[in-house]
Symmetry: D2
Subunit: 485 residues, 4 copies
């Protein structure tokens, strides 16, 4: 039984703030729900306890309440029981986490304040499926403040902050989510969000496409009333484009993933910080003087290189695109071939988006103690599979840190088993989540209020000009600084 | 009448890359051709020799030969007289300048070497109208090496390096250009390039659109044989799009101006260096510790800010676009309103592309000794006109440097009279010109060799993939570095 | 009575480099030994397991073995029982930690390899009192490899890594130390190191001066054979200078604390990284765009500013020393008065070494959410005492993170209660510890091998030239990089 | 005749602002005044016209007045003729240059304002021998404002700005200096300063030691009244220490050269800017993407590396001192051996202070177009002598730029013939000169006002604390910034 396996693992640290830890696994899971689901799900569970690097104290995990939330009868202080969370009594702690998050989400709070009077979402009935964290809670409560009714569920079986879910449920938002759901729980929760008496969604906010998928499969008639879908993830957007190509998309959809703000923040600015954070938390490495090769000089690579160079690392680049390679040169990085420098490197970082960027042959040639990690868009940049061979010994030295030991004693330090370092071993700053959440809110406002005919049954990017509201995404941050001095 | 034709067209050509000053005077001249033309022309000429910041010794200027080249009979050592330059005897000096330029134009030389065997321009008859500098000469000689026949003229009456023109003429390229042409000379030279017995152009390389314009007006039949136009400047491209809209473009045209390589280099990388160079050469200012405000955080602004920050200046930004403002914040710059900080600034730099970014009121509030200059795309960012009022005294303290003196003795240091600092007071690195020249060469190759039907009577950007040759633009630089270690 | 002796001496020892928290509690303890000592000790102990930010899994803490090590009979696999550690069975885990540490201590390993043949410490009998960590173990094992016999104890009652102590004991080094010693244990351990049958120390390696103090008080005759003392801490060095002034220093002493390498690394390079690490682990703050004021522009301040600026924070400085202020200006930082900017700041960092740099009045004026922390040399830079008043509410939101809540709801985020952020909330890179450890080893070699008369009964700095061995401190790092390419 | 040789050279540009162009030659000259003087003097003259990169328009050079100033009778508007300058009528232009200089010399102006009331130099009779530039004029006029009487002469035969000398003479300061003095003129001018009826110096301000030397030789009795010597140059300070060692120093002397402010500014901050300026003005090189090796990582090297790295150059270091090498590593630079990388470099910069850092063998291995220059403390870092061999061709392509051509056609670009690039091809910012000038003024004040016995017949550094006045050096700059926002 999955949950037994889950609790059997020594859980030294809490898994609280982690936003996306197993999204990769989740995505795999979502793609092949019928066949491979069970297997990959099990694997995810066995890994999940070690995936967190949260700084927050874990009130939740110390709970020894093993009863499934589905079997509990809970009522909030207003008498409602239209929710399903781990423990409604954690609401107060969750409220505090939400308040802390609000402090670094000024764009969203600013939007809330400006638009509160006009209630641009009055009449909107939004069903949402996202990670349920303090930051998402600020988004949900903003949508409510702008006039919307919301029902919410989790897009990942591990990423829910139970106390935040409790806090939302306490204020009257029907939330169906807890940390450590089973696969069955997962779809049950989605179903409870969509399929409720006397309430029908007219907007969908999705992250990963599972909610959209479920509605398509089970309640296609819902789409008659839905004015649009807002989707954040790469995978979900990909699915929407496939639907669109197949002529099956029956409502307008907004691709938030490719908005300028999200791209710049998720990649350049965010990775600039998370590469340092991820390496430090896992290895305590000193950056100064270290020889680092970064594979790929796109936005992620640029972020990584900027940060490492600034802290005194000696950084070189591999890049096959000539324009990006030229940019690397002009930014002062040596452009090299990986095989030429691999022997000397202290750290190898992949951010190309391609497969097998670091091959077994190159891993064989690395020096003792070399750290290898992945910041790119998949978990196949490093050929980790090739390391799972009998002549090599794996030794887990810390959470997310494996030593791969060669017969001659050489150790290579592999982080997060080649999965995304920034998701596995670092936290995403609230500020970044704020940018994305504000973009999501604006996309919902735009789709909900658009005159008929503006958007057809297609996938759209957020328009550059939306009147003064669009400016809120950034200008509130802008003025945050500009008004100061 | 040539001058009528000239004035009939908006000829505010982009003269982005030349290091010679007075291009704006040329523009003034163009704007008021009937009244002020003659006078401003005279003034320009008298200033031109002192306004140059080229590091090359100017052998030409010391020449006291006042005879017009049109009135001279000159023959090169091969017996040809199909050219018109200032003094064919300067060829040797010009050759040396070309050789020096070749050293930092490895992309172009690399293209020359690679493609020399296959002669991709065999049969091409190119008529060109560009600045005639050592760097352009490398381009022209590359085109010849690739099989083309060329005839060339200048796109600007001041920008010709006479000795380079001589060197080209000596090797057999018919060149019609000298420094300090009259307007009549200008069109005469173009005409001599196009209208020649027994030779008809089948490709046009233009910079500013004057050559194209002339062919349209006088020799429209030439277009029957022309396979395409390659245009570099903003103005020229604008004209082509207008022709295209009006359905009058009768051959394919390639817009080199908006290529990625040109944009990044002309703006970000180039300005990063030229802001330092321009300020240093004019004012000898120490950057460390100086309070600087940069108006506008586009590519030019980013380049300026990066450089100044790196050298210890304390930089803040004004920016109205919220995305750019957010980028400035994330890059560590205070985003301010100009009026809030104007009193404290040591240096004010405009790079917005807008008008009246620095107003008279703000100039009034600047502190004594404040330096004001413009790196943007027009000469109207600083309201210089407002400074030409009786209560203020102008004092020219150095070439390109005016002190504007207020009644109370306060001095504001105005550079280049508000025109582009990087054009007036700095040089453009050969490396940057090499990037553009290579792009031009590739565009010519592409248009000349494209199968019929690939390009219609429209304006195109250079395709991202052109087979291996396209890579040459950047990959030769790329491998320049990557092959080293 | 040991505790009397202990309290008689000012024991505010420097605990610069350990990553375990609560060192300040130890100091508090020392300050109020009679009254609050017992209580604060208890509190510290109860907090210590959660206060750690070491990335290593803590096998020790989960131990529920409450028996005092002094009451246990333990024997290593070689049959020796000349040690006293928590649990000799943890040796294997400790060995792995030591091996991991060795990978980033190339200077020390290089010294070990070079000097192993000549055994420059053959005959040396070293008694040591330092933090007992994986890094120190590498030092101890290097000393043994160079020919020394060692006996070791801990300089801090909390900082011992039990499994590392076990690993050392297992290899035959008599270690007397465990995490969570009582005060009585502390002196008992020291005594067991010094006072052993048939072995008398001829070298002392101390960190804080407690070992030296104990020998002076109890076994002054030992100094007859001792060739020198090597001391690392500020406090210990201070004590030695006092002894020297008083004419009571009876052997040569080497001041390692003030060596160039230690100063640069402990301050500039180390703080450059630990400010980021400490802030990120405690608050998950995004640095980009944050307004930060750093109080003090000495080496620590320089390190902090460099790192924060590089990651996009907008940094200003307060500094009273005019030379340092000028340096800040020339490095591109605004030099301000704290009171002028306090309202706008997102983060306030102290690194002056002075008292009350951040006053209650300034704390009152901070904006909601402002983060305040200390990187300086004492715990009094922020007037934390003034915050312990009835009108303010303290709320511990995470380990090392308190929200101080004003009556109007404003929250100020105080890190580590104003104690050193880098000690409390960050780890010290092994590389830095390696530099110090190598310096200590070289100092021991120098003192042990110096011809008679070279060093008198005084305090010395390590000589700049010691023959080729001195170079090892840095040159092994040097060549680590230079030999690569 | 020297002056004939001088005028025979085509002087395309002015030699106006150059502060130190020929100091090297001058120093050589000073060291062997009797024997080698004539020869090195001649050589200097032939080089001087090309040594300038001044941005100032040259009013002076256009003068065709060949009469020696010594043969002219000139009177200022106050009726005084106690001076000898090129042309007193240039006073107005010189005044403007002085006013421009004042704008960036706030430290000195601030000192002038603060101390004007108390006249700390009342009674001081200062004889000075320095470069006579606008910046020095601000110093001299500050000394006068503080109560001193001054007589002044030039320390270099080429460095005088004639119009500034005229402006000083016009205000009543007896100045004896012009540009292009003969050796005989040089000593005549010094003599006229010292040896005047009814006025005897009691303070000496020297730069290079020639004035001091002359007084020692010719008027030793002057030292009876002299309260002290302030010396700025390395050479002059060296001479003073020699005198001191030999027991021949008969008054206290202040070594301004080794003051903290001067060292930091002349080296780190100044070179950070002048390396860019010097390379750009001579070669127009683009820094981005260039492979650069900097030999030596002292303060000069640090300045060069910081700047080049910031502008996108790919910088590596050679360094033999292990501490400096470690710093280079920690700052993110590869530490290499020159011979390992010499083939790949685009630019080679020496700043070690040693001889033959770049050997003929290495020059042989450089690639075509490699730029070689020297920022160090002597002109022997590059083995230029080895390049003066028959198989190599020298070609002067621009002022300060030689192409050395190998038999196979390879060209190496040698700047300033291996002399100091920052002196030969760049300007020293007024701000830096201001720091030094203020230090000189403070040293004069300190020596003049010191109670008897504080300073003996020895060489001193400026004391760290001088009361509030000492703060002026930097704090006026400090407050310049800190008071602003």
């Amino acid at each position: 039984m999955p949950s037994a396996a889950f609790t059997a693992v020594p859980t030294l640290k809490s898994v609280k703030k982690i936003q996306f830890a197993n999204t990769e696994d989740k995505q795999e899971f979502s793609k092949f729900p019928t066949k491979a689901g069970r297997r990959s799900l099990s694997r995810s569970i066995s890994q999940s306890s070690t995936d967190s690097y949260s700084s927050a104290a874990s009130y939740t995990d110390s709970s020894d309440d093993e009863t499934s939330p589905r079997d509990k009868a809970q009522v909030n202080t207003h008498g409602s029981s239209d929710f399903c969370v781990k423990n409604i009594k954690q609401a107060e702690f969750g409220r505090r986490e939400i308040e802390i998050a609000e402090q670094d989400m000024s764009a969203l709070i600013s939007l809330r304040k400006r638009a509160q009077g006009e209630k641009p979402l009055a009449g909107a009935k939004i069903v949402g499926c996202t990670h349920i964290t303090a930051q998402t809670a600020v988004l949900i409560e903003t949508l409510v403040a702008l006039g919307a009714q919301c029902r919410w569920t989790a897009c990942n079986i591990y990423s829910t902050q139970n106390e935040v879910a409790a806090a939302l449920a306490e204020t009257g938002v029907p939330v169906f989510a807890w940390k450590g759901e089973s696969e069955d729980d997962f779809w049950w929760c989605i179903d409870r969000c969509v399929n409720t008496e006397g309430w029908q969604a007219n907007m969908i906010l999705d992250d990963g496409g599972d909610l959209t998928h479920w509605v398509y499969k089970k309640y296609p008639s819902v789409f008659k009333k839905v004015r649009g879908i807002v989707e954040e993830s790469v995978t979900g957007v990909h699915r929407l484009y496939q639907l669109s190509k197949a002529g099956k998309l029956c409502v307008p959809a907004m691709n938030v993933n490719d908005s300028v703000t999200k791209q710049k923040f998720d990649n350049l600015y965010c990775c600039r910080e998370s590469i340092l954070d991820g390496l430090k938390r896992t290895t305590d490495i000193m950056f100064g003087g270290k020889q680092v090769v970064v594979c790929g000089y796109g936005e992620v690579g640029k972020g990584c290189c900027t940060a490492l160079k600034a802290l005194g690392a000696i950084v070189c680049i591999t890049e096959i695109d000539p324009i990006c390679a030229l940019q690397a040169c002009m930014d002062g990085f040596r452009v090299v071939k990986l095989s030429e420098v691999i022997r000397q490197m202290d750290v190898v970082i992949t951010c190309t988006g391609n497969k097998n960027v670091v091959t077994r042959e190159q891993l064989d040639r690395m020096k003792n103690g070399c750290i290898v990690c992945n910041m790119g868009h998949s978990n196949t940049e490093i050929d980790v599979a090739s390391l799972r061979s009998p002549e090599l010994t794996w030794e887990r030295v810390r959470s997310q840190v494996d030593h791969i030991i060669w017969p001659d004693g050489k150790r290579v330090v592999l982080l997060a088993e080649g999965r995304l370092l920034n998701l596995s071993c670092s936290t995403v700053p609230t500020f970044v989540l704020s940018i994305t959440a504000t973009t999501q809110a604006l996309a919902l406002i735009e789709l909900f209020n658009a005159p008929e005919g503006r958007y057809k049954q297609d996938v759209y990017l957020l328009p550059k000009k939306m009147g003064k509201k669009k400016q809120t995404v950034t200008s509130s941050h802008h003025y945050k600084y500009s008004d100061k001095i």
